[in-house]
């Protein structure tokens, strides 16, 4: 007996109905998502500064990396200040982290100093901004207001020049076959970059503000019982090979000079948001 079109249609209708009903039945059981607690209580938010070179993780001393024009280098020391954190909520409003708890020294190789631990209100944050360096106001404050990593007399004195030059915002040292032999017989390069504008006499200003959108990599959702972490990649390849190309052979040592502006102008391209854990 030949099958009728009507019969086929009935079967197809039955299949479609079953297929359509299944997701409906189950999605209706799904839990509601958590509502945001509107209290003013502060919760943890970690900003991780993960130092890399191109697609590789930065390995102190052992890693050999390419710079410009066939130059190669290894990093022995990498430290920089990040400060003045601001977070932009998804609704566009901003939370400014209180300045007294907004200075961090990131230090490669020291597991306790690769993250900025912030306390922020519960919210969904779509952008983060921070300063690479130490602002002029703080740089000129009384020493009693410059504690912890900003204490220029203790174990952080290697990150400080003097009252007028201020803090060394960014310090990278290492060796390179293209660097000239120094007094100790090593081929060292040293980049000590800073300058907030000067306290008593005007100087260069190498303070850079970095703003990163978190939308593509995942917005941060700090909550009371969670540890939200924004993972930033800091590509130190850009220090020498950013917009401004820096030759190690020609400039093996850059400190408080006008040339340092070229390196500081490469800083903003170092930072990118990779992902977020919520």
């Amino acid at each position: 007996m030949p099958i009728s079109n009507q019969h086929l249609r009935n079967i197809m209708r039955r299949i479609i109905l079953i297929a359509m009903a299944l997701p409906w039945l189950v999605t209706s059981c799904k839990k509601d998502t958590a509502t945001i607690n509107a209290s003013t209580e502060l919760v943890p938010l970690t900003i991780e500064f993960d130092n890399i070179v191109g697609s590789q993780n930065l390995a102190l001393n052992t890693g050999i990396y390419n710079a410009n024009a066939g130059e190669t280098f290894s990093v022995q020391l990498l430290k920089y200040y990040v400060s003045n954190f601001k977070l932009t909520r998804t609704d566009g409003t901003e939370y400014v982290v209180p300045q007294d708890s907004s200075y961090f020294l990131i230090e490669e190789g020291n597991d306790d100093a690769e993250e900025a631990h912030l306390k922020v209100p519960v919210a969904d944050y779509a952008a983060v901004s921070f300063m690479l360096g130490v602002d002029s106001l703080r740089s000129t404050m009384d020493i009693t207001k410059r504690l912890g990593v900003l204490n220029p007399t203790g174990s952080y004195s290697d990150m400080y020049w003097n009252a007028n030059s201020g803090y060394i915002f960014f310090k990278m040292e290492g060796v390179s076959p293209q660097a000239p032999v120094d007094a100790t017989g090593q081929r060292k390069f040293k980049y000590h970059i800073g300058g907030f504008g000067g306290a008593t006499s005007p100087t260069i200003n190498n303070i850079k503000t970095i703003k990163l959108d978190l939308t593509a990599g995942g917005i941060a959702k700090p909550r009371k019982d969670r540890n939200s972490e924004v993972h930033l990649m800091v590509d130190i390849d850009k220090v020498l090979s950013g917009t401004n190309k820096v030759s190690i052979a020609a400039n093996p040592s850059v400190m408080f000079t006008n040339y340092s502006v070229n390196i500081a102008n490469n800083f903003s391209a170092m930072f990118r948001h990779d992902h977020t854990h919520n």
Partner: protein, 308 residues
């Protein structure tokens, strides 16, 4: 004549089935498709091998970093089917998983028992008609439901911050899950169309992690070529689409989870007496997995089954 026809039916009709083994690899999606199974009158046992690879820990805008991992999920699965009556069938599968993960600065692997699943099916339709005066039209429709047991190890530490971006590198979900399936097959002489839909509802495991529910639909066209008495080969081609809701970690939505995946499939099923051997290869046509932090690569499946 009638009896002979019947025997041929039993030996060579291809019937679909579903399994949710390897249900983590693929970001909650993927692994649902097992291809087209041979029909069996009483009992069938088989071995299935799957090979899936994923790239995980991709950064924002597709950025590759030293954290980016290549993960390989291999599953060997022993399965069996039993026709309790002409309309009721029970199928069970016991997977064993070999998971490997590799990034620039770390390597890891996990081997062990996966999640055992048991499914029951009811045959809603089994119809044979003659159309166009002398062509045979065969239709079957099975519906079913089942459970997936938390027999595979779930390690809550692997979900933790910084460990991995998507909670995939597990042997099992750690949860009791429920499945509903529908399988429709229509065949005009040697040319067949096979449609499968499956839904998997997951519950939260004891660590309050709830993998997103999954929907899986696939459509295959196959053509049977008789090569000898009681022996045929059936090349098949089709597409499958899988989508998963986002996971829930306690009361929070996991942003890096869920997604959708459209795969193209080519495969071949062979039947020789009571033995069937099949293989298929799938390639992604489109995907958005875990908000693009995970990318599925090509995958393949091989199976061997014996009708008892």
């Amino acid at each position: 004549m009638k009896l002979e026809k019947k025997i041929i039916f039993l030996c060579i009709i291809l019937l679909p089935s579903m399994s949710w083994a390897c249900d983590i690899c693929g970001c909650g999606v993927g692994g649902g498709y097992i291809g087209i199974l041979p029909d069996f009158s009483n009992k069938i046992v088989g071995l299935r091998y799957r090979y899936n690879t994923l790239r995980t820990h991709i950064g924002a805008n597709g950025a590759i970093s030293y954290l980016t991992s290549d993960e390989t999920y291999q599953t060997a699965e022993a399965w069996a089917g039993w026709n309790i009556s002409s309309k009721i069938r029970v199928m069970a599968s016991v997977p064993y998983a070999f998971n490997q993960r590799k990034s620039q600065d770390s390597e890891g692997n996990k081997n062990g028992l996966g999640d055992i699943s048991v499914n029951g099916f009811y045959q809603l339709l089994n119809k044979r008609n003659t159309v166009f005066t002398n062509k045979l039209l065969v239709q079957t429709l099975w519906i079913g439901g089942g459970i997936k047991l938390p027999t595979g190890a779930y390690n809550p530490a692997d979900k933790g911050n910084g460990a991995t971006d998507a909670n995939l590198f597990q042997l099992g979900t750690g949860s009791l899950d429920f499945t509903a399936n529908a399988m429709y097959d229509i065949r005009l002489q040697d040319l067949g169309l096979n449609l499968v839909a499956g839904y998997k509802m997951n519950t939260a495991n004891k660590y309050a992690y709830d993998y997103g529910n999954k929907l899986n639909v696939s459509s295959q066209v196959y053509y049977k070529i008789k090569v000898a008495k009681k022996s045929n080969i059936a090349p098949n081609v089709g597409i499958s689409y899988e989508t998963a809701q986002q996971d829930m970690d306690d009361k929070y939505v996991v942003d890096v989870s869920g997604g959708r995946l459209l795969l193209g499939t080519v495969g071949m099923e062979t039947v020789w007496n009571k033995t069937s051997i099949g293989a298929n290869w799938q390639t992604p046509f489109g995907q958005k997995l875990a908000n693009n932090f995970v990318k599925a690569n090509n995958r393949m499946m091989l199976h061997l089954a014996f009708v008892l």
